[in-house]
């Protein structure tokens, strides 16, 4: 079973939920992997330590133009759908804007003069850490400055197969990186906070998941701050409230040090076990 932990709004506690759920299930002896899909700012490794097993580079092809063979016909520029080829035909100026290139290969296909060859461009790295005999952490880490985290996220998700349970700690928002992460999951846990911003972004996530046909449930974090509107929203939409976590300075302090609440407090380990049970029940119901 694959479970994505996501949120529209950043900083609601995705990583907090993912790492504590992973820790709880790992301790219970489940065969489980966690994938840190927040490739722009991966943080799971601050909470879960393990032994580095494997690391690989995520590469994308970018064109290199051989100025000697180029006839400045402009066909590659015309074929590029990303404005990644800067071309001034009359002045015989042609240049690849690597930051805009998506590596689709259209320019190479277009060139009739063999003037375009391709080189590998680093997009990010995927690292696999062994946490216990039954569990691993796979981290997607985008290279600073590249145009998209998506290739790195996809590579990490691919590398994560082979466990009974896989958790995806998703990137924030509802654009491509989020979609790429949740689309491969069976169930999505949306983490929100009871504020107008949290609710607005939750609504957008719920609508998006609905259009993808993904079942989801909600965890409300930092309850007690803000207002109760999120709870009425969940009721109206018939969405299941999987767990409520109060705003608590002690919990915030444990998180801030890179520690896991489920290691510091047995009661919370119990609650995360219950969260997992709720998720499996909800997922089961969604399939009926």
């Amino acid at each position: 079973m694959k479970i994505a932990i996501a949120s529209g709004k950043g900083g609601t506690g995705k990583t907090f939920i993912s790492t504590n759920l992973f820790n709880t299930l790992q301790k219970a002896g489940k065969k489980i992997n966690i994938v840190d899909c927040d490739a722009e700012e991966p943080n799971d490794r601050e909470f879960i330590s393990g032994i580095l097993q494997d690391t690989f580079k995520v590469l994308q092809k970018v064109p290199v133009i051989d100025q000697n063979k180029c006839t400045f016909c402009g066909k590659c520029n015309e074929y590029c759908n990303y404005n990644a080829i800067f071309f001034l035909g009359e002045q015989h100026v042609i240049r690849v804007i690597e930051d805009q290139c998506h590596g689709c290969g259209a320019c190479s296909f277009a060139c009739e003069f063999g003037a375009i060859i391709e080189k590998d461009d680093l997009q990010g790295t995927v690292a696999q850490y062994k946490i216990s005999n039954n569990s691993s952490l796979i981290e997607a880490r985008m290279k600073v400055g590249v145009h998209s985290p998506v290739p790195t996220i996809k590579a990490a998700i691919k590398a994560a197969s082979g466990a009974d349970f896989i958790l995806f700690d998703s990137p924030p928002g509802t654009s491509c990186p989020f979609i790429q992460t949740v689309v491969t999951s069976d169930y999505v846990v949306l983490v929100t906070e009871p504020t107008p911003f949290g609710l607005s972004d939750l609504k957008q996530s719920v609508e998006t998941l609905k259009s993808l046909g993904k079942p989801c449930g909600v965890v409300v974090n930092r309850a007690g701050l803000g207002n109760n509107e999120v709870f009425s929203y969940l009721e109206n939409k018939n969405l299941s409230l999987l767990m409520t976590i109060p705003f608590d300075r002690d919990i915030a302090s444990i998180y801030s040090k890179g520690e896991l609440l489920t290691n510091a407090d047995m009661e919370w380990e119990q609650k995360f076990n219950q969260l997992f049970t709720s998720i499996t029940i909800e997922y089961g119901n969604s399939r009926n």
Binding site: E41, K61, M142, V183, D201, Y255, S256, G258
Partner: protein
């Protein structure tokens, strides 16, 4: 002048701080560049005087009546978006990157490209001046182009109305939308929090900002949730010659302000946090 507020890590308080900056004087342009999870309009309920359609990209679709299932497109697609499922060629809309190569190679001209046109940019008035914001449709690519559009609209409005200051609310992360937000602005303010994740994400954010020549400073928000970590962040900033312009205490009044659809300046002008923010803002607009 343009002041951009970014954060790396989500949920550090970027939007609340931006909202405070936007309500300290009466004649301001506020640009919400967090197009994937726009929130400022919730607080300020701006008029929608103008609406512009933003084309975020393209998706390929197959005309089944023309397709012979020859599979040429499958071989050329580099995004694993076209599959041969039991002799039928299908395009996965989620993986499709919109490069158009499949459409170009198809011998039957069976593939056409459709525009992704659900994203919007809005502009209008709010109580302290003018506001521009983008709303990216779920699943569309957040390439930074919509952010560029929001920024040029904001500049155009500022010029037409003789407004000096533009405040930009940036997206989380370190990808293209962030780069688009900070390129060429006068001041970059990074809002962080005293957690291990906050520090990790700040380091990656500073890696991005160091590639630009803007003035960059840091606000440590909720610093008293972990004073030791706040001190570690200060030390790190010091070592990088980045000034920490404010350390703001955790105060529930910030959330209460949001719940009341006000900035903390409007909601609790006498509070310590409001006063600290006024000081910071003065520093930012005079140190130019």
């Amino acid at each position: 002048m343009e002041i951009a507020v970014i954060s790396g890590k989500g949920g550090t308080g970027k939007s609340s701080i931006t909202a405070a900056f936007a309500t300290m004087q009466s004649n301001i342009v506020l640009a919400d560049c967090d197009v994937d999870a726009a929130n400022q309009y919730i607080l300020f309920a701006p008029t929608q005087d103008e609406e512009e359609i933003y084309i975020s990209g393209f998706k390929a679709i197959i005309d089944k009546t023309l397709c012979t299932n020859c599979g040429v497109c499958v071989d050329f697609c580099r995004f694993d978006a076209i599959f041969d499922i039991g002799g039928e060629v299908e395009i996965d809309q989620i993986s499709c990157d919109g490069c158009k190569l499949c459409s170009r190679v198809c011998p039957e001209e069976a593939i056409s490209m459709v525009k992704e046109d659900k994203s919007r940019m809005y502009s209008g008035n709010f109580r302290n001046g003018k506001m521009v914001y983008g709303r990216l449709a779920p699943g569309e690519e957040n390439s930074g182009r919509l952010v560029n559009l929001v920024r040029s609209k904001a500049k155009e409005i500022a010029k037409a109305n003789n407004i000096e200051t533009i405040i930009l609310d940036g997206p989380p992360g370190i990808g293209c939308p962030v780069i688009s937000t900070i390129t060429g602005v006068d001041q970059v303010v990074i809002v962080t929090e005293p957690t291990l994740s906050g520090l990790h994400d700040l380091k990656r954010t500073l890696e991005i900002t160091s590639k630009f020549k803007n003035k960059t400073s840091v606000i440590i928000n909720k610093f008293d949730l972990n004073s030791e970590m706040a001190a570690a962040i200060e030390d790190y900033c010091h070592s990088q010659a980045i000034s920490v312009i404010a350390k703001l205490p955790f105060d529930k009044v910030v959330v209460d302000a949001m719940v009341n659809c006000k900035s903390v300046i409007e909601f609790a002008s006498e509070s310590l946090i409001a006063n600290l923010l006024i000081e910071v803002y003065q520093k930012l607009i005079t140190d130019n």
